[in-house]
C-alpha cells in the first residue's frame, strides 16, 4: 500500500461566510496560520505545500504563483490542484500521497475560495461541455434539481424528508463557530415554503455560496506522534471517476457509480464491512438536501431506496447511530475550493477529539467524501489507530 503511515496532525479553518474583510490570499493564509498555530508550528516546519482552488470562481488562474508567499511556499515545492468540487479532498489525498510515498515528512494542504469576488453562476457554466451542455444547463441548481427528480423516482423520498435534512444541517451548524449558515430556529415548513429555485429544490434545500479556507497538516509516522497527542491516521483513500457527461450515468443521482466504487475500495482497504456500525462519524459532501440521502444510500449506510428512513429515524443526527455532518455540512458552508477539505478536516478533528461543541463521543473511525460535478469521488477514512503499512 504505502511506504509510510501518514496522519493528519493539525487543521485550521477560517470563519466562513461573506468575507469582505480579506483578500483571497489573506483568507488562505488565515487558515494556514490557524492550522500551524494550533500546534505551535511555523512554516519552517513544512516541507511542501498543496493548494486547492477552483479558479473560475475568482477568475485568477495562477494562484500558485500570485499567492506563493501567502501560501507559505517560497523555496518549497508547491502543487496546485483543481478538480472541481472535490478539490479540497483531492488536495488532502495529494498531501497523503506525498507523505505515504516517503517523499516528504510534513505537507501542508490548503483549500480556499472567495466566491463573493466573482460570479458563481458564470463559474458553474464553465464546467459544462461547451458544445453539448452549456446551452441548456442551469448551473448547479438546475443540474441538482434534475438529479433529484431521478432520485425521487427511484426512492420515493419526499420533500418533507429532504427538508428535514436541510433543517438538521443548519441546526448542527449552530455548534460550529466556523459555519456560514447557522439557523437555530429553522423548521421543515420554512424549507418547504422557501422560494422554489428549480423543481423540486427550494432555496433552503441548496448550499450557500461562501468565502472560506481550510488547511491540514499531513505528517509521516516518525513525526506524527510528536505533533499531535491523537493523530488522525489515514486508513484508506480512494478516487474513482465515471464517464464525463451529465447524462452518461443512467440514474445519475439514484445510483452514484463513482461514489459506490470509491466506497467499495476505501472500505475494503480499511477493513470495513458494515459502515453504519464501523464508522463513528461521516462528513459527506452534500450540495443539496436530496443529495445527502442519495449519498448515504450509495455509501451503504442503508439499503438503496431507503434514505428517507435514515432521516425519519434520526440515525444520522448528532445523537444517532452514525452522525453525518455534525459540522453542518455543505448545506451550511460552501466555499467550493475549501469545501471538500473541510469534510476531511472535520473528520480529522473528530478523530483527534478537537471538534469542540460538535464533537461526537468516542470517535475511532471517520469518513470524509468529496463529490465533483457528478462524475467523480475522492474519499478518505481516518482512524485513531496507526495502521500497518
Amino acid at each position: 500500500m504505502s511506504r509510510v503511515a501518514s496522519a493528519i496532525v493539525a487543521t485550521g479553518q477560517t470563519e466562513h461566510g461573506r468575507r469582505l474583510d480579506t483578500s483571497m490570499a489573506e483568507l488562505a493564509r488565515e487558515a494556514i496560520d490557524r492550522c500551524l498555530d494550533s500546534r505551535g508550528l511555523s512554516l519552517q516546519d513544512v516541507d511542501a505545500v498543496v493548494a486547492g482552488n477552483m479558479e473560475m470562481f475568482e477568475g485568477i488562474y495562477l494562484v500558485d504563483q500570485l499567492f506563493v508567499g501567502a501560501l507559505g511556499a517560497i523555496g518549497k515545492p508547491l502543487y496546485k490542484l483543481n478538480t472541481g468540487g472535490t478539490v479540497g479532498a483531492s488536495t488532502a489525498l495529494a498531501c497523503y500521497h506525498l507523505v505515504a510515498s516517503g517523499r516528504h515528512e510534513r505537507v501542508l494542504g490548503v483549500g480556499f475560495q472567495k466566491q463573493s469576488d466573482g460570479s458563481t453562476q458564470a463559474a458553474i457554466t464553465t464546467v459544462g461541455d461547451p458544445v453539448w451542455e452549456r446551452a441548456v444547463m442551469a448551473g448547479a441548481i438546475g443540474n441538482f434539481a434534475s438529479m433529484a427528480s431521478t432520485y425521487i423516482a427511484e426512492s420515493g423520498v419526499t420533500p418533507e424528508q429532504a427538508a428535514k435534512v436541510a433543517v438538521l444541517a443548519r441546526r448542527n451548524a449552530c455548534r460550529n463557530p466556523y459555519a456560514h449558515l447557522r439557523m437555530p430556529d429553522i423548521t421543515v415548513e420554512q424549507v418547504l415554503e422557501s422560494e422554489m429555485l428549480a423543481y423540486p429544490i427550494h432555496r433552503l434545500d441548496m448550499c450557500p455560496s461562501s468565502d472560506g479556507a481550510c488547511a491540514i497538516l499531513m505528517a509521516a509516522e516518525d513525526v506524527a506522534g510528536d505533533l499531535a497527542d491523537r493523530p488522525a491516521w489515514v486508513h484508506s483513500v480512494a478516487t474513482v471517476h465515471d464517464q464525463q457527461y451529465m447524462g452518461d450515468s443512467p440514474k445519475r443521482l439514484a445510483v452514484m457509480r463513482s461514489l459506490r466504487g470509491a466506497a467499495a475500495k476505501a472500505y475494503k482497504l480499511a477493513g470495513i464491512d458494515y459502515p453504519l456500525r464501523q464508522l463513528d462519524v461521516a462528513e459527506v459532501y452534500e450540495p443539496a438536501s436530496y443529495a445527502l440521502l442519495a449519498m448515504c444510500e450509495n455509501l451503504g449506510f442503508c439499503a438503496m431506496g431507503d434514505g428517507g428512513r435514515l432521516i425519519d429515524e434520526g440515525i444520522i443526527t448528532m445523537e444517532g447511530q452514525l452522525p453525518v455532518n455534525p459540522s453542518g455540512g455543505v448545506l451550511s458552508t460552501n466555499p467550493v475550493g475549501a469545501t471538500a477539505m473541510i469534510r476531511v478536516a472535520e473528520a480529522a478533528s473528530q478523530v483527534m477529539g478537537e471538534a469542540g461543541e460538535h464533537q461526537i463521543e468516542q470517535v475511532h473511525r471517520a469518513l470524509a467524501t468529496g463529490y465533483g460535478g457528478n462524475a467523480w469521488t475522492d474519499m478518505m477514512i481516518l482512524g485513531d489507530e496507526r495502521p500497518s503499512r
Partner: protein
C-alpha cells in the same frame, strides 16, 4: 504570527476593485460533433456513436467509456425518447449562449433517445412540474430546415407525448 480577528474589522474600510472581463471563445467541435451537427442541420437526423459491442453513446464520442473500445459506427437515434431526469427552473439564469437572462420558468431534462444508452440535456416545452416526470415520453421538435445552423439549438425543444 497570528492573523487579525475578522470580527474586529471595520467593514466601512472594505474596498472592492471592480473589473469586467469579456472573453470570446471559438470551440472547435471536433470530428464527431461536426458530423453530428451536419446530419442534424442537413437531414434532420440525430446520430449517435456505436462500438462493436453495441454500446450507443449520446453525445457521440471517439471512445466508449464503458467498454474502452473505439466508437466507429454511426446509428440514428430518436427522435423520440424518455425523460431520465427533469426539472422546471424558476431562478433567473444567465444564458451562456446569449449573455442575457433566459426567461423563466422553463423546463429542461435529460432525454434518453430511443436507441441510445445515455442521455442528453435539452429544453422541454412544459413548465408545469406536475406534467413532467422521469419515464415520460418525449419527442424532438426540429427547427425548419432553413433556420437550422448546425448546433444543438436546431432541436428547438422536446415536447411531451404523454
Amino acid at each position: 504570527m497570528s492573523t487579525p480577528d475578522p470580527r474586529q474589522f471595520d467593514r466601512e474600510q472594505a474596498r472592492r476593485i471592480e473589473q469586467q472581463v469579456t472573453l470570446q471563445y471559438r470551440f472547435a467541435a471536433g470530428t464527431y460533433a461536426s458530423r453530428f451537427f451536419a446530419a442534424l442541420r442537413d437531414e434532420g437526423k440525430i446520430l449517435a456513436s456505436r462500438d462493436r459491442e453495441g454500446n450507443v453513446m449520446m453525445p457521440p464520442r471517439p471512445v466508449c467509456g464503458l467498454s474502452g473500445l473505439p466508437m466507429d459506427e454511426w446509428v440514428e437515434v430518436g427522435p423520440d425518447g424518455v425523460l431520465a431526469g427533469c426539472t422546471v427552473v424558476y431562478v433567473p439564469f444567465i444564458d451562456p449562449m446569449t449573455g442575457s437572462q433566459r426567461p423563466v420558468p422553463y423546463g429542461f431534462g435529460l432525454v434518453r433517445l430511443t436507441g441510445a444508452d445515455t442521455s442528453i440535456y435539452h429544453l422541454l416545452d412544459e413548465t408545469d412540474p406536475a406534467k413532467i416526470g422521469v419515464g415520460k415520453r418525449v419527442e424532438a421538435v426540429f427547427k425548419p430546415a432553413a433556420e437550422r445552423t448546425g448546433s444543438l439549438a436546431d432541436i428547438r425543444h422536446f415536447r411531451l407525448l404523454d
